[in-house]
């Protein structure tokens, strides 16, 4: 298939405004009479609030209002389970819980005033380990619930017990992963403007998911959705991180804005951001695998425990993705998987790029290497014996029969580009000196979009203006990944016009069709289809209008190169501009609402059987490392990443996703960890929470594999998240080869690499304060 706009490295449509500094981010906005909001956070991870006295703070010069839980019409919100407090009512449940919010004429006054709020606490013992929370007699984190379990998902396939009796080799291993921070460069920012343009309140800011934010604000204010308007601004990163924390901030600002009848702006400092915003779930994972001597897997039993922290947030769905993908892309006749989430008094955990996959991929891909070792096989051989192919049946009993299962292809391409086979042999020989090299691989399959989590549909408006210029307004929000560019390319492709005609609007919830969230690597797939659908409707309108007038068959007309042609004789009938003129004259409506609903899926909660996702993507990453075995330092020399994306709508922005995903995975694998001791967070800024810098970036070789998917626009599927679920296990496997020692806990920091275990300053409060 030949394309004119898609499948091309088109320049980002928002590049100019961003590189020239003209793009406006949340914190750049100012409104007349605007106040500044600041939240007072808890002093303890778990405590009863006896009394809040705001009197002194209210008298501080410039202070206009202070709100506490009392002032919030409906204090609980949440996307899945509504138990997150906008402001702590009777108890604070984690260290970042808000207690009161001040609105003042200056930032400084707001910051000073919160120090004058007197809170009387009764400190309560907390639970900081999900396994403690799981115990029968554990105190309840949410007193209205029966226990501390957020959720339990199951997959049951075959008879695991019997299968293990037939296994010739059985391996049991435990792996753990840590809390990590999204580290978006732009901290949270929100402005709530009261009574603007017929809305009760309009919210601007750094909002990942405008519609989730609208739901939360409307629910909190107890007003209909059409009274709350959310307008997204440019975003300085999100990675799944600007959802509930932003909703909560928006709700607080909205209450204050209505109370004062003045716009209220809230911008977190980095410390506030790290203290308050949800993190990636730490997991404890027990894996048991059985295989034949020849390396054929016969059974797998898995138990994963996720720390949900104080609130449910996205734990139910995060652990659901884990349960579906926990075995990895391997054919297994018998599987028993359980994933659990438990409440604790740690910081709450939620969506972060990968969403329940980086943890289990780390475990399962480490396990495959350990098993290969046990079986005296290479990691590659073992994988090739067991991976999914066309028509394989997954652990959930889904037959992979509606798309190309390209694992073998991605593995082959990554193996070739990395010289894996030769290097694996070379690095297995004994190496002189302290610096040892290793090469490691990881593979995965990943369900595209939401799956059985929720209804999965998206919409978009494409509107041709009188002069032939085009506006697109989609319900899915740009998060910085290049969504606007990709959607513009798709509209331009369908309408046969230059992308320069298109102006892409920011999401405005009062205008754009509700489309769910920019999550689950679903936007190109779902939103792309919606844009395509809208553009196709307009195309049909144009071709029917012309067919009618020129007495040709509308089916013979094509839109291409800014013109309309008769495809039978390739004759130009008229230009696109003339067609728009004609439509103007004839009163033909050249706008359309596009809609796309994902194919049906199914899921049985008891057995975990069904069709959890309608299609999957496949990837293989190979890491080459050099480990300084006398200091514990790891240098990642090279990463090869082969990903089947169905179709690359924009190969350059797609490579950007691969580079970025790998760097995030490198941080996850080697250095990042939010250090939490008894619920207190130790590292609240980037001087102590270390993420990789450009100097740590290895050579990265991205390999784009294209097997068009029948459901994707032009065959496109997903790329955002698969890129970051493979890096940490690939690096861990390479480090294990280099050092001869397996590390089963992330991150692979200096201490773990040198000593085999981590060191901690200890868990008492005094160490942190």
């Amino acid at each position: 298939m030949k394309f004119s706009e898609v499948n091309k490295p088109v320049k980002r449509v928002d590049a100019y405004e961003k590189v020239t500094g003209k793009a406006k981010f949340g914190a750049d906005l100012f409104f007349p009479n605007m106040l500044y909001g600041k939240a007072l956070h808890s002093k303890y991870p778990h405590a009863q609030i006896i009394k809040i006295n705001t009197e002194k703070a209210l008298t501080y010069p410039g202070v206009k209002a202070i709100i506490t839980a009392e002032d919030i019409p409906n204090n609980k919100f949440g996307v899945i389970i509504q138990n997150q407090q906008v402001l702590a009512q009777e108890e604070v449940l984690y260290i970042g819980d808000g207690i009161a919010v001040v609105a003042a004429e200056t930032k400084e006054a707001a910051s000073e005033a919160i120090k004058l709020i007197e809170v009387e606490y009764k400190e309560l013992p907390g639970i900081f380990d999900p396994e403690e929370a799981a115990k029968k007699d554990a105190p309840l984190i949410h007193s209205e619930l029966e226990d501390n379990q957020v959720v339990h998902h199951r997959v049951r396939k075959g008879d695991v017990e019997k299968a293990f009796t037939q296994a010739e080799v059985i391996l049991e291993r435990e792996y753990t992963t840590q809390f990590v921070e999204h580290s978006y460069i732009e901290p949270e920012a929100i402005i709530a403007v009261p009574y603007e343009h017929n809305s009760l309140v309009t919210i601007y800011g750094s909002i990942q998911n405008p519609f989730s934010c609208r739901n939360a604000v409307a629910n909190v204010l107890k007003v209909p959705l059409n009274k709350v308007r959310i307008i997204q601004n440019h975003m300085g990163g999100s990675f799944g991180g600007k959802d509930e924390v932003i909703s909560s901030m928006a709700a607080r600002a909205a209450v204050l804005a209505l109370k004062t009848n003045q716009p209220v702006k809230m911008v977190n400092t980095r410390e506030e951001s790290i203290l308050e915003s949800y993190k990636r779930h730490p997991y404890k994972m027990k894996y048991k695998v059985g295989a034949t001597k020849e390396g054929k897997l016969v059974a797998m039993e898995i138990k994963c425990i996720a720390d949900s922290g104080a609130y449910a947030c996205q734990t139910p769905f995060v652990t659901w993705r884990s349960v579906v993908q926990a075995t990895g892309p391997y054919e297994l006749p018998s599987v028993k998987t359980d994933t659990y989430g438990y409440y604790t008094n740690n910081i709450y955990t939620g969506a972060m790029r990968g969403y329940g996959s980086p943890q289990i991929v780390f475990a399962q891909e480490s396990l495959m290497d350990e098993l290969a070792d046990e079986l005296k096989m290479t990691p590659l051989e073992l994988r090739l014996k067991n991976i999914y192919h066309n028509n394989s049946i997954t652990a959930s009993g889904q037959k992979l029969d509606n798309h190309q299962v390209s694992l073998e292809e991605v593995i082959a391409k990554a193996v070739k580009a990395s010289n894996y086979i030769e290097k694996y042999i070379e690095y297995n020989k004994s190496q002189l000196g302290d610096k040892k090299r290793g090469i490691g691989m990881a593979v995965s399959f990943r369900g595209c979009s939401l799956g059985a989590e929720a209804t999965d549909a998206a919409g978009a408006i494409v509107a041709i203006q009188r002069d032939g210029s085009i506006l697109i307004s989609s319900g899915l929000a740009e998060n910085g990944e290049g969504l606007k560019t990709v959607f513009s390319q798709i509209a331009a492709e369908e309408l046969g016009v230059d992308i320069k005609r298109i102006n892409y609007m920011e999401v405005d919830t009062s205008v754009s069709p509700e489309s769910g969230a920019t999550v689950a690597s679903r936007s190109t797939l779902l939103g792309g289809n919606a844009v395509k659908n809208a553009a196709q409707q307009i195309k049909r309108t144009i071709t029917e209008m012309i067919a009618d007038k020129f007495k040709v068959k509308s089916g013979d007309l094509v839109l291409r190169n800014e013109n309309i042609y008769n495809k039978n004789n390739n004759q130009k009938i008229m230009s696109f501009d003339d067609a728009v003129d004609l439509a103007n004259k004839l009163g033909v409506f050249l706008s359309a609402y596009g809609w796309y609903k994902a194919p049906d899926i199914s899921w049985d909660e008891e057995t975990g059987q069904g069709r959890p996702y309608f299609t999957y993507v496949y990837g293989c990453q190979i890491a080459e490392v050099e480990v300084d075995t006398a200091t514990g330092q790891i240098e990642v020399l090279k990463m090869v990443a082969a990903h089947d994306v169905g179709r690359a709508i924009n190969p350059v922005t797609l490579k950007g996703q691969i580079y970025g995903g790998i760097m995030m995975a490198l941080g996850y694998g080697i250095m990042e960890e939010v250090e939490i001791a008894s619920g207190y967070i130790k590292n609240t800024n980037f001087d102590e929470y270390l993420i990789p810098t450009i100097k740590d970036m290895p050579e990265i070789i991205p390999i784009i594999v294209e097997n068009p998917d029948p459901h994707g626009p032009y065959g496109a599927k997903s790329i955002g998240e698969p890129t970051l679920e493979l890096g940490a296990p690939a690096i861990a496997n390479a480090v294990a080869q280099a050092t001869g020692r397996r590390i089963r806990h992330l991150p692979l920091n200096l201490e773990r690499v040198l000593l085999g275990h981590s060191l901690s300053k200890g868990g008492t409060k005094n160490d942190i304060l």
Binding site: A630, T631, T693
Partner: protein, 293 residues
């Protein structure tokens, strides 16, 4: 929020006047330590009412050779330590250490004077400067005194600087013939990385290949950087042809623990500090052997 009056001057004399006239003055050079502490409202920061900006005093930005000393103005940036031929030629160890500090932005602003007076246990210039037997010149309106850098440091983030004194000069005696130096550092990432551990080694190797006048100063190993006399003595008198590096590694680990006791990080630092001294010695020995040929 910390509030203060802002003072600035373009001349040493004027700065010294301010220090004399006002009390509770905090000196600002590059600001890369101080501004972070102000932002954090760090408990390490003493209460102050005035901030005295000295960054515009040209008289504090020199690097000169005076007799047997290289003299360095406190406002000399890390970037200049890396680039300046006088430093590169005489004390390559200082350039190497400066190169590992922070990032380009930090190296362009951060100064040698700030690194010294801030007196962090992890400061990257302190171990090489102590190993080079650097001296600091402290000037007040009324007097001037010279202290060895090692004596100037009194604890983590603590020095003998008096409230009315300005650090005006760092003096480093030239090394004679036969001296070798090396600097090693471990960080958690490749840039913008505070030393998990670092180590400066200065030593003289005579014609027979025997070590003399060895100076070993690790950083991030003890509450504040200091020389390790036991280790130094155990190197002195050994020959580059048969020194037992494993043994020296064990000695330096033991000496560290004798100063700090067992701490949470000791299990890591013990083997790591041994690695650093072995590497520094290996490098120097290799250099000495090539020089012989």
């Amino acid at each position: 929020m910390i509030s203060y009056e802002f003072l600035t001057s373009k001349k040493i004399e004027e700065a010294l006047d301010y220090l004399d006239k006002f009390s509770k003055v905090q000196i600002l050079a590059g600001g890369t330590d101080l501004l972070v502490n102000i932002h954090k409202e760090s408990p390490r920061l003493p209460h102050f009412d005035y901030l005295l900006d000295i960054s515009n005093i040209p008289e504090l930005k020199f690097i000169t050779l005076v007799k047997n000393f290289i003299e360095i103005g406190p406002l000399v940036t890390h970037f200049r330590l890396i680039e300046e031929p006088l430093i590169k030629g005489n004390f390559p160890i200082l350039s190497t250490a400066a190169q590992t500090i922070g990032s380009v932005q930090i190296r362009n602003r951060g100064t040698i004077g700030g690194n010294i007076v801030n007196a962090s246990p992890a400061a990257d210039l302190l171990p090489p400067l102590i190993a080079l037997k650097a001296e600091v010149v402290l000037t007040s309106k009324k007097s001037e005194r010279i202290l060895s850098l090692e004596k100037f440091l009194t604890g983590p983030y603590k020095t003998k600087l008096q409230a009315d004194e300005l650090l005006t000069k760092i003096k480093i005696p030239l090394l004679g013939d036969g001296y070798y130096t090396d600097f090693q550092k471990i960080g958690r990432r490749k840039a913008l990385s505070i030393a998990r551990l670092n180590l400066a080694l200065v030593t003289k190797i005579d014609e027979k290949g025997v070590f003399h006048d060895t100076r070993v100063v690790p950083g991030s190993a003890t509450p504040y950087p200091q020389s390790f006399p036991v280790t130094e003595e155990s190197v002195n008198g050994k020959s580059i042809f048969n020194i037992d590096l494993e043994e020296i590694g064990e000695i330096v680990s033991k000496e560290m623990v004798s100063i700090t006791g067992e701490r949470w990080s000791t299990p890591y630092k013990k083997p790591a500090i041994a690695t650093l001294i072995k590497r520094a010695l290996e490098k120097i020995i290799k250099e000495a052997k090539t020089n012989e040929n």
